[in-house]
């Protein structure tokens, strides 16, 4: 039970941080923000690594393997495409 309470504290505080950080983003950047945030949600990759790397059950490893592929597509694709978009945002040259 103590774990749960501790984790809930972290969850709620992190949500507040998220709200505060994101309300200040100008509309120009909403698409890259959505795609960048989306890439961060691929953090679940870390969980997938732990599951695919254990040897308790081959069945679980296969599930972890699928999870790694899914999450890596999300992470690598997400960060790369966000970078591609942001690379194009330029100030007027003068």
């Amino acid at each position: 039970m103590e774990d749960l309470i501790f984790n809930l504290f972290i969850f709620v505080l992190a949500s507040f941080v998220g709200f505060e950080l994101i309300t200040k983003v100008p509309p120009t950047l909403h698409t890259p923000l959505m795609s960048g945030a989306n890439a961060i949600s691929g953090i679940t990759l870390i969980g997938a690594l732990i599951i695919a790397g254990g040897t308790e059950s081959v069945y679980a490893q296969w599930i972890g393997f699928a999870a790694i592929i899914f999450a890596t597509i999300n992470v690598v694709g997400g960060f790369m495409v966000t970078d591609r978009m942001l690379e194009m945002f330029k100030k007027k040259e003068d």
């Binding site: 774990d3 709200f19 120009t28 960048g36 870390i46 679980a60 999870a67 992470v75 978009m85 040259e93």
Partner: protein, 471 residues
Amino acid sequence: MSQFLPEFLQSYIPNTIQLIYLIATGFFIVGIKRLGSPATARNGNQLASFGMLLGVVVTLFDREIVSFEFIIAGLVIGSLLGAIAAKKVQMTAMPELVAVFNGFGGGASALVAWGEFSRVSPDLFDTQALVTTGLSILIGSITFTGSLVAFGKLKGFINGGRIALPGQNYINLILTFIALALVGWFAYDPNYEVIFWALFALALLIGLFTVLPIGGADMPVVISLLNSYSGIAASMAGFVLGNNLLIISGALVGAAGLILTNIMCKAMNRNLASVLFSSFGGDDGGAAAVTGDRSVQQTTADDVAIQCSYAKKVVIAPGYGLAVAQAQHVLKEVASLLEEKGVTVKYGIHPVAGRMPGHMNVLLAEADVPYDQLYDMDQINSEFSSTDVVLIIGANDVVNPAAKTTADSPIYGMPILNVDEAKRTIVFKRSMSPGYAGIDNDLFYQDKNQMFFGDAKKSLQELATAIKELD
């Protein structure tokens, strides 16, 4: 990988991993913060991706990880697929890509919870882990199938209109309650496998049923909401594994998605409930166009060229039609020609121009339009009264004065670009057909408005030629 480290370092590993997770969290927070301004955004994204790299590398030292075949194969396959998709995608197809990436993220979280559950004996799971496993599978699976349907609708694989059973809203509501009850039952009796599978299947079905009825026009709101779900699913997976990095990052993304969803709803004058439970948008077109016999003024490239060249200030109001016609680059050329003549050119961007918030900015950035020429709706609306000519290109509903004047219009109350305050408006349009909302636009019939019919790209090319010939 911890087995490769010398003996005396072994005992430091768990705490070191946690400390590096803390640093990775810092990179995410600073990264998102820096994504908030155009000048620092690229760096922000790079910081966030570095945080991710840090998290992944340090996790490989976790003592639970002893076998690497699956990990290496998975990382290689996933990176290749992700990189190819990110390199190949057209900027106009960005909403689809975000949808599909998002679906994979949500799916991964559901798989992580399933994997952990099948790896560890259920008796070792406490109630917290069981409830969050159930929630992770529920939310992750809804995100997965929901995002794939959104992808299909945007791509046109699935009909963009309403696809629903009779009483779909009630069915969805009941299914959601059943799913939540199953989460409870699963936590109470985790050894009864049928419950686990029923929950999984039902969650996948809810994702389908929730997004299928939603019209194509509302899809960006849905993607934004699903983006939030995928964050929450990752956070729940973090509860299952007791991993702070997952809990925090997931919560950050969950909050981001909610804020964006809210912004989009406001911009489209929709509330979330009506997006999720009704069918406006797409080719449903419930409100029929009443065109009548009113007449419009037509104009030509030469005439538009003269009007713009002798104007002091020209504002361009682009819409998704511009992107469909791939006319961003020609538009930029026209704007540069006018600037050479000393005309002030600004772009007025409606929040939902394009197909997701900020999409139009990306499309114009691709055509090398500097971002300090792009003005948000609130900034530009105060300037229309001092504007000589507004060029409206491929936009319709976002400049429709009915949103301010006609109380029974489906778009009534939606904030619009007040282009009718300018001295002259010129609408570039293929035909008189109505926009997404399926309603007629009074602006077209006003005395100070002129219509320039034709494909946006071709019309702008003619305009560019006409401006050059004026010299």
